[in-house]
């Protein structure tokens, strides 16, 4: 693997290799000293053109846990503010000879461009509404620990699919691992023609009881202004996941940050079925695994393949 630009580019065995690697870092995380020397002397650039909490924090901590030197740049306050183009920023950063560039950008394809303009391994930490592959991988990791295989499992992705890079990456990732995916939301928030990616589309929550996993998406309140939704109340009445709609044997996921009372009721966020906190924890080890696979794999053999054991079902 040269770059991680899109889930679409990955074969199933490449995905599994990353998840297996993440499993070994989860073990490291239980030690007193959580740092390994793998990337000592190598530089990781974290380049965020959009605000982010968990993605930037977990990539940066992942790089540090692997002993890399980290340059962390936010668009605000940097030369980007002064009108420097992405291409020129890449050229500037290349002078530091980074081993990897982790980039979050408001427009699709930005990471792909950086991959063409730089010698570094490039990790797409979210490009516009296109892809967010590390999120999909951490979600797979979280689910694999709970469910074992995703083969034949049913996953409903509910909410603002139109504006969601998470929805796109996760749809592709879940399908790659054998799950059957239903996208659910009002027609105005489901992109026309997306069923050609092999998923089912539902404009109501009827039938959601079949789902093994309900994956809710964040609904930005500004969507009302563009008449994508008539009101938050109208949206929530039909599409909010609450305790009536979420069965006791269904897992709940969300990429964060949650709008309590909009896409999720507060009670389901805090329910035992909620994997939201586990997703965040998975983010760190999966992002360590991504950096490792890009920068260090081949230096030593991969750990023996071992199916992880499910660690319990919800009550």
């Amino acid at each position: 693997m040269r770059h991680l630009l899109a889930i679409e580019d990955l074969e199933r065995d490449e995905i599994e290799a990353i998840l297996d690697r993440a499993e070994s870092f989860a073990e490291v995380g239980r030690r007193d000293i959580k740092k390994v020397p793998t990337l000592r002397g190598r530089t990781v650039v974290s380049l965020f053109y959009e605000s982010s909490t968990r993605t930037s924090a977990s990539f940066e901590l992942a790089a540090k846990r692997l002993s890399a030197d980290l340059i962390s740049l936010k668009a605000a306050g940097s030369s980007v503010d002064k009108g420097e183009s992405l291409k020129d920023t890449c050229a500037t950063l290349s002078a530091y000879d980074p081993a990897a560039i982790v980039i979050r950008h408001p427009y699709a394809g930005a990471a792909q461009l950086v991959a063409g303009w730089s010698e570094a391994a490039v990790v797409n930490a979210g490009d516009g509404k296109h892809e967010h592959p590390s999120q999909a991988l951490l979600d797979l990791f979280t689910l694999r620990r709970r469910l074992g295989s995703l083969e034949g499992r049913r996953i409903w992705i509910v909410g603002d699919v139109l504006h969601s890079r998470v929805a796109r990456s996760n749809l592709i990732a879940f399908q790659a691992m054998g799950a059957e995916v239903t996208l659910c939301g009002p027609p105005a928030l489901i992109p026309r023609g997306i069923e050609q990616l092999g998923c089912t589309v539902s404009y109501s929550l009827d039938g959601i009881e079949e789902a093994d996993v309900v994956y809710a998406l964040r609904l930005q309140k500004e969507r009302m202004a563009e008449s994508f939704i008539p009101s938050i109340r109208e949206y929530a009445a039909r599409f909010q996941i609450d305790s009536r709609r979420l069965g006791p044997r269904q897992w709940l996921m969300h990429p964060g940050p949650v709008n309590r009372g909009v896409e999720l009721s507060g009670e389901v966020v805090d329910s035992p079925q909620s994997l939201i906190a586990e997703q965040v924890a998975s983010g760190l080890v999966v992002r360590m695994a991504i950096l490792y696979e890009l920068l260090a794999s081949g230096e030593r053999p991969a750990p023996a393949e071992q199916a992880p054991t499910p660690i319990g079902q919800p009550a």
Partner: protein, 448 residues
């Protein structure tokens, strides 16, 4: 009135030459056969039997080459004034000449837009110094393209504008377009329309469909174009006006124009080579240099509808919508990059390669539609009939070339054909009676 008279170009000597043994094809004039084409003083003197004596004329060995009535592009962005880093009249017309064109129409969405009689006069004066093919200039329909107040259409016509267009933007207000059609009765001039309902197209950057869904790019629905065509055709019909619809891209648009023509509306339309050759699948590469333009590349069904429209005459002509941009305006993520691709140098070659060689359309039809852009602007179509002004595209249909390998005549390199291998190209162009272009390798061959 000939193109050189009706439009503006650099003054120069009329060509005196003979194209020996050219395969002459001018379907509009009913000419097909091998002739020595004799050009004297910039006019076609005769189509002679091969071997005719021709003293005092430059001999051009055209054996195996095709002579077509040169092409006319009703939709070109020359970027003057204000965006000369992308193109200017000299480079843009040279690019046209290299593509076999004998006339082009320059759009008015410059910086600032062409909105006054003085703007038109300045452009015409520039063209008389620098244009290697005849150029006609449009002014905007609305002042500064703001969509609100009409430009002084009468005075602008008196200054020599060929017509009007807010191309780049639609005319949002039906009331404003209606008033423009009313003034068209007084002052004439074509009104060329960029049809797009901005309420529907929004901030879309590609065709709305499965590919935009997969890429997470905001889509432009086909109906954003066709609904505006239907509105404007109804207005033109009501006012007895004449409209030319630019760059059709979708099935529904072809149907809307077909219905308007059947209803007797004075409407003509164009399609671009890129919409006739490419579909939205190309956007998966996220390459804005070649595949980002407005209207966007659409589905295969849309492309087939455009071809059908070309065949049945619903689509009158082919227009490149040649839209040069500097590298830094395209070296950006897809959504941020400028819209538009260049097309003058490759239109004939691309359509010959993609549509004629596979047998989708006849060579004669391609020539007709490439030359057909003059009529919507009230201009005489190029002709190879004796006594016509010499407007000739001499083409080598067997020439194989890779686009961009030798650079471009245009100042910009955002060709949708960049890197493509094409078969056929213009080797020499006569425009407005003058030799406007010779392919370097061809002219070297002649010198031997």
């Amino acid at each position: 009135m000939s193109l050189a008279q009706a439009l503006d170009m650099r003054s120069g000597e009329g060509a005196d030459l003979i194209l020996r043994g050219a395969s002459v094809l001018d379907p509009g004039a009913g000419i097909e056969g091998v002739h020595d084409v004799v050009v004297r003083g910039g006019r076609i003197a005769e189509l002679a039997a091969p071997g005719v004596a021709a003293e005092g004329l430059e001999e051009v060995d055209a054996a195996g080459l095709h002579a077509f009535p040169a092409f006319f592009d009703p939709h070109v962005h020359l970027r003057v004034p204000g965006q000369e880093h992308k193109e200017d009249i000299e480079t843009g017309t040279r690019s046209g000449a290299a593509g076999g064109y004998c006339g082009i129409v320059a759009m008015a969405n410059t910086d600032p837009p062409v909105s006054t009689p003085g703007d038109i006069e300045a452009l015409r004066a520039d063209a008389r110094e620098t244009a290697s093919v005849p150029v006609g200039f449009l002014a905007t329909v609305t002042r500064g393209m703001a969509g609100e107040e009409l430009t002084e259409m009468g005075a602008i016509r008196d200054a020599g504008a060929l017509g009007f267009s807010d191309d780049g933007l639609p005319i949002r207000s039906a009331r404003v377009l209606r008033r423009a059609l009313q003034y068209q009765r007084l002052c004439g001039g074509a009104i060329a329309l960029h049809e797009e309902d901005p309420e529907l197209s929004g901030d879309g950057v590609m065709h709305e469909g499965p590919v935009s869904a997969a890429l997470g790019l905001t889509g432009v629905p086909s109906v954003s174009e066709s609904t505006m065509i239907a509105r404007d055709a109804a207005l033109a019909g009501y006012e007895g006006g004449r409209i030319h619809v630019q760059h059709l891209s979708a099935v529904e648009s072809v149907e809307a124009v077909r219905a308007a023509k059947a209803a007797g509306v004075q409407i003509s339309c164009e399609a671009s080579p890129h919409h006739l050759c490419l579909i939205d699948e190309e956007v998966r590469s996220l390459d804005p240099h070649r595949f980002k333009m407005n209207p966007p590349l659409r589905s295969e069904a849309d492309r087939q509808a455009l071809i059908a429209g070309l065949l049945d005459g619903t689509i009158d002509c082919i227009a490149t919508d040649h839209a040069p941009h500097a590298a830094e305006e395209k070296d950006l993520p897809f959504e941020q990059a400028a819209m538009g691709v260049t097309g003058l140098e490759t239109a004939f070659a691309a359509l010959h390669t993609e549509l004629v060689l596979p047998g989708t359309i006849e060579l004669a039809l391609l020539v007709e539609r490439l030359a057909g852009g003059a009529a919507p602007f009230g201009l005489e179509r190029s002709s190879l009939a004796p006594d016509s002004e010499a407007n000739i595209a001499l083409c080598d249909l067997a020439a194989e070339w890779t686009v961009g390998e030798e650079g471009y005549e245009s100042r910009s390199a955002n060709s949708w054909c960049a890197g493509r291998k094409l078969t056929g190209r213009a080797v020499m162009t006569l425009a407005g009676g003058q030799v406007a272009y010779r392919l370097r390798s061809f002219s070297l061959g002649v010198a031997e």
